[in-house]
Symmetry: C2
Subunit: 181 residues, 2 copies
């Protein structure tokens, strides 16, 4: 199978699932910091925001962040056949600091991957326990599962804070663009 590379020489899978997702997780940390600053300025407990949700049966903000982190962690691990060695998380974060640490830990884990780890990712068979033995190719898993899911949970975290009055905008979500002139 031919290696998928970008003009910059980086394998496409590495760039999509490590470089860009790390950037998005850092943007999420920035958005959460804005939420914490908002809580402090309004003299409200940041835990109120962390436990907010947009619908009664929707996951609250902490859970949105946990799922975003697990989507990133397990996306990279499954695409490189490293699930067994992926770090475990108990999903017991309740404070702002713990939530931020969970994201930092996830980014650190993503940084442990190399471009070469993704050489076989496009064609690898990916499965999850709840898929009952069925699988997706790595290509399908990345494009139709990992990417839409990670953006879903980061956008939902953003939306929960925005709905509660935190002054976040599209630029906070997208992060800096590498504009050239």
């Amino acid at each position: 199978m031919r290696l998928l590379t970008t003009p910059e020489g980086q394998p496409m899978f590495y760039q999509l699932s490590i470089v860009q997702i790390s950037k998005m997780l850092q943007n999420l940390q920035h958005i959460l910091n804005k939420g914490a600053a908002f809580a402090e300025s309004k003299k409200i407990d940041v835990a109120v925001l962390l436990n907010s949700r947009l619908a009664p049966d929707q996951f609250h903000l902490i859970r949105q962040v946990q799922i975003a982190c697990d989507t990133a962690k397990l996306g990279a691990a499954r695409l490189t056949d490293k699930v067994d060695s992926a770090p475990k998380h108990a999903d017991d974060e309740i404070s702002f600091e713990q939530v931020q640490q969970r994201i930092s830990d996830t980014i650190a884990y993503l940084k442990s991957f190399t471009e070469a780890d993704f050489n076989q990712s496009a064609s690898i068979k990916v499965s999850q326990p709840r898929w009952e033995g069925k699988y997706l190719t790595g290509n399908e898993f990345l494009i139709q599962h990992v990417l839409p899911n990670i953006y879903f949970h980061i956008t939902t975290a953003y939306a929960i804070l925005r709905h509660n009055g935190v002054d976040v905008g599209k630029k906070d979500y997208l992060g800096a663009m590498p504009y050239k002139s």
Copy 2:
């Protein structure tokens, strides 16, 4: 420059910006149909949902759909240097039928592209009027701009409906997965 292809033989750019985004726009139509059915069952005007937002200074649902459509349309057009021939839209949709037609028109436009249209996309210089002469490579534009933006606006549309009580879930957002056994 080497052509980026997937194991299935499709150029990666085509698969990310045409195939997957067309799927997401169809999922958005499905989600909006659930919103319309909800409005009918509750005897409320669907225009109430279409004009809903999660924060006073956030775009309402119609505008979220319009931007999702334009992100898809202009993403494909800019990556293939076809902006001048891209269809124009007046952003004057006010009814549910018009909003659904806008999405259908966008999907039809995406279908007009071929895989070969994207042969140079990774390295093409992409700019927009408001970038004041600066540019991104096509690779950066797709990964850091088009994809996060399209998922942002579809997720926000979903969140507006979810917040208003429409029974939508993650499967509605993700659509069908090509599971194999």
